[in-house]
Amino acid sequence: MTTDTVANGAKGVSVGLPGAPQAPQKQTSDFRLTLIRLKFWLKSPSPYLNILGLAGFLLFWYLTTEVLKLPLFEKLPGPTATLDEWLSHDPMFGISFFTLEYYQHIGISIWRVFQAFALATMLGVPIGLFMGWKKTFKDYTFPLLEVLRPIPMLAWVPLSILMWPGREASIVFLTFLGSFFATVLNTLLGVESIDECYFRAAASLGASEKQIFSKVIVPGALPFIFTGLQISMGYAWFSLVAGEMLAGEFGLGYLIWNSYTLVQYPVIIIAMITLGVIGSLSSLIIRLVGDKLMQWKVREAAQ
């Protein structure tokens, strides 16, 4: 093949080539991409509507609890009472931004979720991938998964207390279970969502089974896996709080329940908001890691 002839040949068709008139394009750097997106976001009405929505909720909370004192809400602490406690150097109930105990509760909860989520991901993703890859393995395991998966986490509490020696292990185990099934199922769905044509293309091009696994199954399932990880992170926090309420001595779930029994209501709100913020942040981290690994998805959305 000589370039010459083809260049001549191509001349005849070069006039309206799709893409030819466009300037050579460079991949935009990650940082610039983020800046550009941030700029567009700030120009759109979204951020201001976001703030308005949050402010509306705070106003509703304030009015119902502290100004109007409506029947359903009169026992709840209002935003100012909560904030006073939260920002106090000498909090009435011992929990605020300036107490070590607050961070101990947060720290232990994050550590438990981290252990459980890491374990669930390290086991769940390979099992899900393998189920999708090998039909026989799926035939063995899928019915079991489908029966175990719908069992609510709370139903596992007695068994996990019986099984594990300490409270710590049983709480982590409960958290792990909550997150594990979602991860396996979404990974499996991810593999099954990969279009047959990619397997055919890879097989045609001479890829071995292992190469198909690493170059088709894993990247093809990644979008589903990361959606699954976000869901499973949610389940992990859910199960954690349930576990801590029942068996904990520390942690945000324990703090909520303990504050209820001790009639320290503002602390309940503090712990709840803390859970909400940490939960969102953990989801965000997963999404960022996913974006990093799936540039092809990010670029698609950027253009």
Partner: protein, 296 residues
């Protein structure tokens, strides 16, 4: 066959399709899709299969590529019976099958890379050379979703070509492209073919596209799919669209249309479901056959 492939590329192969039958289902639910199809893909020739949509053309490619086993009959590549898919027979699909998670460059490099035939600079040069041929060198780092439909098909073309397959199958590869892009792709493809002279099988439901590209034109019947007639297209190469005004082209087209029309009438009479569309399509094509095409 995969093992004794040389690094320098494969020779164009010859493929013999012998009494091919393919049925789906069993017993009373049996549906005959391919009924006793025989033809030869001659070495270094571009063979075009023309037939109405849904007549079983894609099934032929699936069997020839090794994705499906024939019910009976033989498929020989250079005298050897084929078994399963392999890089000696590559398919360019109707829908794009580029890996969305790989860049243009990575997609094209995939074949030689997984077979460990080339690496480093050699691989890079081979990929870039082909990308330049189809005008995509500036798009090497783009992902498929960032490319236009025409660019995706071109990428897919060179992703197959880099493996120097003995036979290349094109399963209505330009379907779904707009008319402009489509005729550009036809020109690109005809150039690449004339340059490389591999054995090619091209499937289409568009007669005009078929004649423009073909060395040999295989006209298929509808439900079940049989070979109606094989015609030689001896139009001069290199070809461009001006060939479509020549009397030779029009003669071939007239003859092919008559055959297709006859086929349409037959299946219409036998009450085939898609016969009405078929009849309409090919009757309509007959009317404007004397008119020049707008882009010529």
């Amino acid at each position: 066959m995969i093992n004794n492939m040389s690094n320098t590329g494969m020779q164009a192969g010859e493929m013999v399709v012998d009494n091919l039958v393919k049925t789906y289902g069993t017993d009373i639910l049996t549906k005959v899709v391919l009924d006793d199809c025989s033809f030869v893909l001659e070495r270094s020739k571009l063979t075009v299969l023309v037939g109405p949509s849904g007549c079983g053309k894609s099934t032929i490619i699936n069997v020839l590529a090794g994705y499906e086993k024939p019910t009976s009959g033989r498929v020989l590549l250079d005298g050897e019976q084929i078994s399963g898919p392999g890089p000696d027979r590559l398919v360019v699909f109707q829908e794009t099958a580029l890996f969305p998670w790989m860049t243009t460059f990575e997609n094209v490099a995939y074949g030689p890379e997984v077979r460990k035939e080339m690496k480093g600079k050699e691989l890079r040069d081979a990929v870039m050379h082909l990308l330049e041929l189809v005008g995509l060198e500036d798009f090497r780092d783009k992902y498929p979703t960032q490319l236009s439909g025409g660019m995706q098909r071109r990428t897919e073309l060179v992703r197959a070509m880099i493996n120097h397959p003995k036979v290349m199958f094109m399963d209505e590869p330009f379907r779904g492209l707009d008319a402009m892009t489509r005729s550009l792709m036809q020109e690109y493809y005809v150039r690449l073919f004339e340059e490389h002279r591999g054995t090619n099988l091209f499937i289409t439901s568009e007669l005009e596209e078929g004649i423009f590209l073909a060395d040999r034109l295989v006209i298929l019947t509808n439900q079940p799919c049989r070979v109606k007639k094989i015609m030689n297209v001896d139009l001069p190469r290199p070809r461009d669209f001006s060939v479509m005004g020549s009397s030779e082209y029009l003669n071939i087209k007239r003859e092919a249309l008559e055959l297709l029309h006859e086929e349409a009438m037959k299946s219409f009479a036998s009450g085939a479901v898609n016969a009405a569309d078929f009849l309409e399509a090919y009757s309509h094509m007959g009317e404007d056959q004397a008119k020049p095409r707008s882009h010529v």
